[in-house]
Amino acid sequence: MTPTIRVQEAPFDLSAESALLTAGRVDVGGLASFVGLCRADDGLSALVLEHYPGMTERALGRIAGQACARWPLTGCTLVHRVGRITPGEPIVLVLTASAHRMAALESCAFLIDWLKTDAPFWKREEFADGESRWVAAKDSDTEAAARWTKGA
């Protein structure tokens, strides 16, 4: 199974991406999805996402490879948008499919936790008053990713 990994400016379609992991198959018992959306915190008017072309795909591929090694997945899709994203729009999609629910649910959580700490994306917030600031990394994100290595 080869994971699908895309970095794109365009929005994505959850239903269409999900269908690609289940169409024509009878071995998928569970499909888990995570969609990260842009919130309008503090009068935010847009997020502008920048990434490191080349390294981004490499990092996402490594994270997806770790998930595939750890859980018996039949399908895995990572789509991350870049460019200007307005509140209410989707930013990131993680889809995992497996014969059983626990593998799908756990691998989906693992992927979004690691994507947040190990893939080279940066968010800049733009506000209605013209102000702009870079988002600071959160310790809580690092801790969320680290819980997957405890006791390993």
């Binding site: 990260g36 390294m55 991350h80």
Partner: protein, 83 residues
């Protein structure tokens, strides 16, 4: 070597990338940061607080004691905030 800058590091340096040829005594990321910081006021501002900077050599995250060599692709950026 090719040096790339992202996010606020890029804004402070004033460049997205540059080709540099540091002297032989620049052997690792920490040495490269010290050498780059002396190139311009923008570089100095970008590298004023190295603890806020992350680095990659040839598209892999690395520590500041990672060696650097001619021909490497080296990137400097803030901690990542995707997802």
């Amino acid at each position: 070597m090719q040096v790339l800058y992202f996010a606020w590091v890029r804004q402070k340096v004033g460049l997205a990338e540059e080709q540099v040829s540091p002297p032989a005594e620049v052997r690792d990321i920490a040495g490269l940061i010290a050498w780059l910081a002396a190139r311009s006021p923008g570089h100095a501002a970008a590298f004023a607080a190295p603890k806020q900077i992350r680095a990659a050599v040839n598209q892999d995250f690395c520590a500041f004691d990672h060696p650097v060599a001619a021909g490497d692709e080296i990137a400097f950026f803030p901690p990542v905030t995707g997802g």
